[in-house]
Amino acid sequence: MESKPLALKILDVFSILVLLIAAYLALVYAPKELVMGDVQRVFYFHIGTSWTALLGFILAALFSVVYLINKDLKWDRLQVAAVEVSLVFFLITIVLGSIWARPVWNTWWTWDPRLTTAAVTELIYVAYFMLRQGIDDPDRRARFGAVYALIGGVSAPITFFAIRLFRTIHPVVIGGTNGAAQGSFNMTPHMLTAFFFALFAFTVIFIDLFWNRVRLGDLQNKVEELKLKVTM
């Protein structure tokens, strides 16, 4: 396998740097929210990871469409990479949300529409990997995976709009208000800086991890091809 491209090496370093800056802005630069206290600071990483995860699930659905049209396995590898990185990010989103909810809602978990749709989305993509594991033929695996990721992709916008469409206690940060929400707050300019930087940082980290995962998929593919060549 070719050595890592210079652009990816630079992106690796840049990702670490922006992650550290995002952590600094969230933990030090942004002021403490007076009602919730320090726990509000998990909000920056919570939103950053959820934004990239939902975007990744939608990207995976788009890669599925391209794969189903041209049947090139390259698109299948892109789809797997997008789903895997998004799954990790969305797990962080859910855990951070649960940790935030404990002191603010006085519970770790509640079957609120947003939390339920988020949990369903995560489980849909866990099942995606279980499905792929059960199929040996690469073309069949890619075809089933593409159809599944395409249908699963619908869960991402449903999760995003759940707090805007249903009556829920989850706060709405961008684009609307929710009368029933518990734990809403107004952001100061410093909070907004930390918030937008976290969005930027997690987008960069997502691109970096996605690129690395695509390369891993390519290597996996080469090994499988070589195994077939050696055994034949």
Binding site: M1, L27, D38, V39, N212, K222, L226, K227
Partner: protein, 79 residues
């Protein structure tokens, strides 16, 4: 919580949140590194299995052929 006078101390939850975020990301990066390392090992092993096989056959045959050729020449010389 919403009729309080002082800001509650929820720093423990904040620390737990950030620890979880960094640990999960760290585990994922480590898993990618390990998978990549294992695949590279597999790749080099498979390449070795694939490539040197014809070279070994040639090097094994050569000396026998030379010996055989030499015996033939000796025998033919004796005759």
């Amino acid at each position: 919580m919403f009729f309080q006078e002082a800001t509650p101390d929820t720093s423990g939850y904040m620390i737990a949140g950030y620890v979880v975020a960094f640990v999960v990301m760290g585990i994922y990066v480590a898993s990618m590194y390990l998978r990549s390392r294992n695949l590279k090992q597999d790749m080099s092993m498979l390449e070795e299995l694939d490539k040197p096989a014809p070279v070994q056959k040639q090097s094994a045959r050569k000396p026998t052929n030379v010996k055989a050729a030499k015996t033939v020449t000796k025998k033919s010389a004796q005759k």
